[in-house]
């Protein structure tokens, strides 16, 4: 009686720890199963389609609007300091370093991650995964591995599209609407944005986010309780945990890359 609350706390802690361990064992199994993708590239292509091509529209449109808003808001502040020519630099640096990778990862977590969780969870609930196992086909290799690498491959490309479209959106607003000089817009951007320091670091960020978001989505689906309620809860958890992981990791990565 007396120790009931303590026992509940302990059980919760043990459960969380066990889930953590299962998630990492799943990641390890998926990374070791990379051979499956090389042997059956078709499976990978289908998943790049699911995560990449189908997310293209939302990522492109969001990038355009984020770039345009950045230009509008940035101009307001920069013009007060007489530095409106730095608009291109501000738009490009913030997109390439931060907003491109982060917003793309959040969008993919919502758009593709939730779909992955629901798909895997439903496969589990309808015992398709168990059926595969009965046929001596490893569901981790056959189902999960192509999805993981599809997500990892698609994420940096989506982030690059987001940043590029955003820069073009910022260009249209800056030059067309606000009357910033086009030459200064590009030259300031090119003189301050560094390829290795900014662009490559942004790509590294989105690779990490690609791994984390797809991993969380796949694990939540694979680990959900096989009921309709369990699948719905797992889908919610994917979006919440995915977003939190992306934002938290972004701080760590930014501190490592640009903080020194």
């Amino acid at each position: 009686m007396l120790f009931d609350p303590l026992a509940r706390l302990g059980r919760g802690g043990l459960d969380a720890l066990a889930r953590f361990g299962r998630a990492h064992r799943l990641l390890l199994a998926m990374v070791l199963g990379i051979g499956e993708v090389l042997r059956r590239p078709r499976l990978l292509i289908a998943q790049v389609y699911n995560v990449g091509v189908l997310s293209m529209l939302i990522v492109g449109v969001s990038g355009l609007f984020v770039g345009m808003v950045l230009a509008l808001q940035g101009y307001y502040v920069l013009a007060r300091f007489g530095a409106a020519e730095s608009l291109g630099l501000m738009v490009a640096a913030s997109l390439v370093r931060e907003l491109g990778p982060v917003v793309t990862a959040l969008l993919v977590a919502g758009r593709a991650g939730s779909a992955l969780t629901a798909e895997i969870g439903l496969m589990k609930a309808t015992e398709q995964l168990a059926g595969l196992e009965l046929m001596a086909v490893d569901p981790v290799r056959r189902i999960l591995v192509p999805r993981l690498f599809g997500g990892v491959l698609a994420m940096p490309l989506l982030a690059a599209v987001f940043s590029a479209v955003g820069v073009i959106g910022g260009y249209f607003v800056g030059i067309g609407l606000l009357g910033v000089d086009a030459g200064a817009f590009w030259s300031q951007m090119q003189s301050a944005v560094d390829f290795r320091e900014d662009v490559v670091n942004g790509v590294i960020k989105s690779l990490v986010f690609g791994v984390v978001v797809t991993w969380i989505a796949l694990f939540q689906g694979y680990d959900c309780s096989p009921t309709s309620e369990g699948v719905s809860r797992a889908t919610t958890r994917t979006v919440v945990h995915g977003a939190l992981a992306v934002l938290g990791l972004d701080f760590v990565l930014t501190a490592l890359m640009f903080g020194g």
């Binding site: 078709r42 292509i45 289908a46 790049v48 389609y49 990449g52 091509v53 293209m56 490009a92 390439v96 698609a154 940096p156 490309l157 989506l158 690059a160 599209v161 940043s163 590029a164 479209v165 820069v167 590009w186 951007m189 090119q190 003189s191 301050a192 944005v193 560094d194 390829f195 900014d198 662009v199 790509v203």
Partner: protein
């Protein structure tokens, strides 16, 4: 089969779009220089004060960029700043008595190193030191001097 093919085409188009975007970021947005193999050569210069000069700041001559600042270090013996400059190898005939200045682009802009050629027939080689330097203009000091001279002039 036709559906599989459509998916493959769309994925191909997606990957092309992604790499085009990356290429755009590399070439148009950032200052990626494909002639990056040009390592150039190093010169050092000592300044009493470099202001807020940072590594990667441009080194210019007659207003044209001829190199970059590679490192800004402090010499604890002479209490001077030691600036390492990497000059493009195309500019290999800087006279021995070249003059190095730390300037600011615009009133509040970034600081850069400006080189002015001297008249010596000897040229600077890799690892040489530029002997004639002038420190950065510190805006606060200049304002202070200006106010001071104004005040003493009035009195």
């Amino acid at each position: 089969m036709a559906r599989q093919r459509n998916i493959e085409i769309l994925v191909g188009a997606f990957m092309v779009a992604g790499f085009v975007a990356l290429f755009f970021l590399a070439m148009q947005v950032s200052n990626l220089n494909l002639a990056g193999g040009d390592e150039g050569y190093r010169l050092t210069a000592r300044f009493a004060n470099v202001g807020s000069l940072k590594a990667r700041a441009p080194v210019s001559m007659a207003g044209v960029r001829v190199g970059r600042v590679e490192a800004v270090d402090f010499d604890p013996r002479t209490f001077e700043a030691v600036v390492t400059l990497r000059i493009d190898s195309a500019v290999d005939n800087l006279p021995m008595d070249t003059f190095a200045n730390v300037f600011t682009s615009g009133l509040l802009g970034e600081q850069y190193v400006a080189l002015e050629p001297g008249g010596s027939p000897d040229v600077l080689r890799d690892g040489d030191e530029i002997m004639q330097t002038q420190s950065a203009m510190i805006l606060e000091q200049m304002i202070g001097q200006f106010l001071f001279s104004k005040a003493s002039g009035d009195g």
